[in-house]
């Protein structure tokens, strides 16, 4: 095990029934590193990052998060999740709670923080994503971009060491993508370890330390943005870039 590794996947395999979604995945993400994972739909990108916080079970290989191997044990998985934040494509905000309550839920019930302190913490993160004025609104009253920023704030209130983003801008209208990406760039500037599944190549180019390209459950290419865009090694990467950059 490498020192300073935030996330390490070693020989990970997973099947959905008979469909082989992840094939011999090896990926190491250092602390403070930002990795963007891209690839065609159905290539296993989302499944890969969902294995990191145990939302999906891998069947073979090892997933190691901050030196702890993910096992089947419930308490251990929950411990890992406390240090790993996640942002979903569909936001998955809790519709029966206000933006503020969405952000105080975990601090109060997982970190056992008093309500007042949790609210102060939540407000500080809502300020960081630039929507403190929406704190008392319900998710249904917010735009998609605002909802996704609340979702980012909600994940941050657990003060995680690692953030996972599962296509955070794919469900957004074009004019809202920018505000979410800007929030993510700001987060990257704080030195957060980030794994981002995204098709936003502009974001990948400017923010990522590495880009991993997946196809048919395999990591086909794992390179710096420079290498990835200018000098891709595999044919499949070239084809993919040809399609999305055009």
């Amino acid at each position: 095990m490498t020192n300073g590794c935030a996330v390490e996947l070693i020989g990970v395999n997973k099947w959905f029934k008979t469909f082989h979604v992840l094939r011999d995945i090896n990926l190491a993400v250092a602390s403070r590193e930002r990795v963007v994972i891209c690839g065609p739909s159905g290539s296993g990108k989302s499944t890969l990052i969902r294995c990191i916080n145990g939302l999906e079970r891998h069947e073979q290989g090892k997933v190691i998060v901050e030196g702890q191997e993910l096992t089947e044990e419930v308490g251990q998985v929950e411990a890992v999740r406390r240090n790993v934040g996640m942002v979903f494509q569909q936001f998955n905000l809790f519709p029966h709670l206000t933006a503020l309550e969405n952000c105080t839920l975990a601090p109060m019930w997982v970190r056992r923080m008093p309500k007042k302190q949790a609210e102060e913490l939540a407000m500080s993160f809502l300020e960081r994503v630039h929507i403190p004025e929406q704190a008392s609104k319900y998710p249904g009253q917010l735009s998609g971009g605002q909802q996704q920023r609340v979702a980012i704030a909600r994940a941050l209130t657990m003060e995680p060491h690692i953030m996972l983003f599962d296509e955070p801008t794919s469900a957004l209208d074009p004019e809202m993508i920018k505000e979410v990406l800007e929030t993510m760039v700001e987060l990257a500037e704080t030195g957060m370890t980030m794994l981002v599944v995204s098709h936003e190549m502009g974001f990948a180019r400017t923010v990522a330390d590495r880009i991993a390209f997946m196809d048919h459950g395999e990591i086909v290419e794992d390179a710096t943005p420079q290498e990835f865009f200018n000098n891709p090694k595999s044919e499949r990467t070239k084809e993919f870039l040809g399609q999305i950059l055009r």
Partner: protein, 363 residues
């Protein structure tokens, strides 16, 4: 851009409304008139019987025999029994207190302005049933014991219904979660329990609880008939409640549980804080539908010799003292009205709750 108001739409007057909705075509006009004739031919004789021809004052069957219509003196004279059953006359204040506390609790929960909804709701579901039980059974705190054989009428109906309601919601939630559990044993047991109770008519269950269970128990052990009925009703209705709650749970997106898990909430907290509040809100109409069904099903306890509201009225109509052609009808109409008021009240209350909760979410 200056905001433009929507175009003015005049409110239709009553004449226009009638023309538009009831007499828009010749066929509609004919149907409207037919419906009116039909309604009139049912309502008019009923009003004639229940009010105009009815006896209101009097002390005995003779007073009713002189009139053609309903025999209200019967209901008035038996009102004590209808409300309290055979509960000892000097101890009826205890029932009054139980009724009063129930009414106060429900009143408090009805008005959104009053604070402490959760606390009051919690008390009504936990402390109240226990306090009411002590109050009604007695035998402690210097209260003389009143055997359950003496309970009856509205008292018995409410005891069975409230017990069923209070027990079936939490049990039903647990069974619904159990049925969706990933643990095979828990899931199978939940399915077996739910399907067993849903597959058997309540009458059969009550009959078994009252008459067959004592045969299996060792000699000398007797089971209180009311207790048997309460347990039967609670388990029976929890099976139905489980399916209603399961429907609500299924409507919640999988992403909600994933998001709750991802912020570190374990199974029970994710369920209690995120999934169930949403699922139960969706299920309110069906949950209340179940409660209403349960309230009406309490009349079935009469087959094991308990006298609920309907049973006690029925028993009264059979007595020679009040034998008139109209006594039975009057009793049934009265029982129907009482049940209707309770059920309609529940239904309206559920609607009101839904509106409040909806307003909170969407505004």
């Amino acid at each position: 851009m200056t905001p433009r108001p929507p175009p003015h739409q005049p409110m239709p007057g009553p004449i226009e409304w009638l023309r538009e909705n009831l007499f828009s075509t010749p066929l509609n006009a004919v149907l409207t008139l037919l419906a009116l004739v039909l309604i009139w031919s049912i309502v008019a004789p009923f009003v004639q019987w229940a009010l105009i021809d009815a006896a209101f004052e009097g002390k005995s069957r003779e007073d009713c025999l002189r009139r053609e219509g309903a025999c209200w003196p019967f209901v008035i004279e038996r009102l004590g029994q209808i409300i309290y059953g055979f509960y000892d006359g000097t101890e009826r204040w205890r029932v009054d207190i139980a009724y009063l506390l129930l009414a106060a609790g429900l009143f408090w929960l009805t008005f959104p302005r009053l604070p402490g909804k959760w606390a009051i709701g919690g008390i009504m579901l936990t402390a109240y049933p226990i306090a009411a039980l002590i109050m009604l059974v007695g035998g402690v705190l210097g209260l003389p014991q009143v055997p359950t054989e003496r309970w009856g009428g509205l008292l018995l109906t409410l005891v069975v219904a409230v017990t069923g309601i209070v027990a079936s919601l939490p049990l039903g939630i647990l069974l619904a979660l159990g049925r969706r559990s990933e643990l095979p044993v828990v899931r199978w047991l939940s399915i077996a329990f739910i399907e067993l109770w849903r597959g058997v008519p309540l009458v059969t269950v009550l009959f078994m609880a009252a008459n067959m269970l004592p045969l299996f128990l060792p000699g000398g052990v007797t089971i209180n008939k009311l207790l048997g009925a309460l347990i039967a009703v609670a388990l029976f209705s929890s099976a139905y409640m489980a399916e209603v709650v399961r429907g609500g749970l299924q409507a919640i997106d999988k992403g909600q549980f994933e998001a709750a898990s991802a912020v570190g909430l374990g199974y029970w907290r994710a369920m209690g804080l995120v999934i169930l509040p949403q699922a139960l809100r969706l299920s309110i109409p069906n949950i209340v539908g179940n409660f209403i069904g349960l309230l009406k099903d309490t009349t079935l306890v009469s087959i094991i010799g308990l006298f609920d509201l309907l049973g006690i009225i029925q028993a009264g109509t059979a007595s020679a003292e009040w034998a008139t052609p109209n006594t039975a009808y009057t009793g049934y109409v009265f029982a129907g009205v009482v049940f209707w008021v309770m059920c309609f009240g529940m239904s309206r209350y559920a609607k009101h709750m839904e509106d409040i909760l909806k307003a909170g979410e969407q505004r």
